[in-house]
Symmetry: C2
């Protein structure tokens, strides 16, 4: 599983983030050299504490908007994991330029830096959000041409398109991963984070965005990394697009139930109402993962296990009574 082909010196954007830092640890454990790149706007230096003890690791603080620094930092690498992004899906309409700049233009800058350094292989963290509100469930990679419903999804779709065009125009090879939501250690935002912190603040009442019936899919971060590394090892096309998720889904209400049971709480639930938690929220996300499973991958944790694993991480790092660090 950890054999990652010809990758030797790997550049990771968003290296101090949730998925990025877990990936960095895995790549280092597999004996790879890693250059981590992060602007530390939402990434956290402490997530790289273990990585920093490895001789094979170096970290460069920088922003994808700085094309020249990016080009320089990438020198000598032979593979890029482009994970840095504005992943703040809910608030796209509050600052519409953010997704464009941090997801679309940033991806262009990464591709140009690769081209300047003659690096041809890139893995990209896209999202199931680019399916908008699909008509087909589970939703396969080849579902009908979707209509975008969020600036986040639109900005990631644009990133995919740019990467694909570089494959055609500049002989790049790309691995595009359309994730469901990811759970696990170093999780820093999302519904488990929100519910956990809300319940720490008030264990008796909780506000739920939407009607609680939104049906979502989740995957554990280490399972996600297993899948990415396997695809990179096995997929041979120029453009390799893979959904990543489990064969399950759960409602927001169910997930909240697991969280409350784990914490031993029975809060009264208040719903903000409506099918969607926010503008652009998809009421049902469930991806067809036949393609990645056909390579031999399967997730080790169920959604419920991943939620509980996440809660254990949150409890260890944000114990009841401690001053909370606000989510970025």
């Amino acid at each position: 599983m950890e054999e990652t082909g010809s990758m030797q010196r790997i550049f990771v954007t968003g290296a101090a983030g949730f998925i990025g830092s877990n990936l960095v640890d895995r790549l280092l454990a597999a004996g790879k050299s890693v250059v981590g790149w992060d602007n530390l706007s939402t990434g956290r230096e402490e997530f790289l504490e273990s990585a920093r003890t490895a001789r094979q690791f170096s970290f460069v603080r920088g922003d994808n908007a700085d094309a020249s620094a990016l080009r320089q930092a990438m020198r000598g690498c032979d593979f890029v994991f482009h994970l840095a992004a504005n992943a703040d899906v809910r608030f796209g309409t509050r600052h519409p330029s953010k997704d464009l700049e941090q997801n679309t233009v940033a991806t262009f800058n990464v591709l140009e830096a690769m081209r300047a350094n003659n690096i041809k292989r890139v893995a990209f963290s896209s999202t199931g959000s680019i399916y908008g509100e699909p008509q087909v469930f589970p939703t396969p990679e080849t579902c009908p041409f979707p209509i975008q419903t969020s600036l986040y999804g639109a900005s990631k779709l644009a990133g995919e398109g740019l990467i694909e065009a570089y494959c055609a125009g500049f002989a790049f090879q790309a691995y595009i991963f359309r994730f469901v939501s990811i759970l696990g250690e170093r999780y820093t935002h999302g519904h488990v984070f929100d519910f956990y912190h809300k319940l720490l603040g008030n264990p008796h009442q909780i506000e739920v965005l939407g009607n609680g019936k939104q049906c979502k899919s989740y995957v554990y971060v280490q399972d996600c990394i297993d899948a990415m590394l396997l695809v990179i090892e096995r997929a041979e096309g120029a453009v390799n697009v893979y959904n990543l998720g489990t064969q399950e889904h759960c409602t927001v209400d169910e997930s909240l139930g697991w969280i409350c049971t784990y914490l031993g709480l029975k809060p009264q639930r208040f719903y903000t109402g409506g099918e969607r938690g926010w503008v652009g929220d998809s009421p049902f996300i469930f991806l067809d993962t036949t393609k990645v499973r056909s390579l031999g991958w399967k997730p080790k944790l169920t959604i419920q296990e991943a939620v509980l694993r996440t809660l254990r991480y949150l409890q260890a790092h944000f114990p009841a009574g401690a001053k909370l660090r606000a989510s970025a």
Copy 2:
């Protein structure tokens, strides 16, 4: 056909271009007020000679990169045709930032200017190129999620996604048109233009990009405008995506045959070879136009008639022996 609903004062980006200037004339003839916007980089002032005689027309020279001028110019309008683009499909890889800036970021600026002016309705000239190299012919709007093969296609896909996200996030209404190649009066670039000028220069020999078997679809500019105006009148969704093309296709060789016959020439043909004329060229473009035809539209000209109409225009404006004005 010319009833265009509640549009009264219409902002047209790319107003001095091939399609834009023909559209402006049609809108003025239908009694609308029009504000034309163009940076005149490829648009031509002479295309607006007739429009400039209309009281209801005003022209602002400006660039979509200038967000503040764009916002100001759009004031008081209630509908935007966003046609301005880098339509230079062939040379995307020579200057990769051009498509991103002039098609994707420019579209974002148009949408933000609309939002600042509380304009909610937009028509967008997208392209059949966003289907990449599809597996389904004729290709419907709902074909399987495509892979991009050109920076041009990727930049237009990104534009579509942004517009759709504005429909979801800001209650915009959009009409997205995926064109095949357009022919007719004021045509300024494309294969008929290239072949005509090559044959003016040397009537005995002609170079053909690719193997000449590339199979393409074309539509006459007035038919295209008919279709756009009809869709805007009839389609009622928030996001309305329509292919525009004829139910025919022809090969590059066939089209060259019509051109040679028309000009009375029998040049020897030299092929650069390969299935594609250039990187990102699609060897077969044929769109399913069932959706737009179901509204009652049908093209008045066949592809061959449109090619001949274009040749008559070129002959009138670039007669043999006259100094050629280079295509932008």
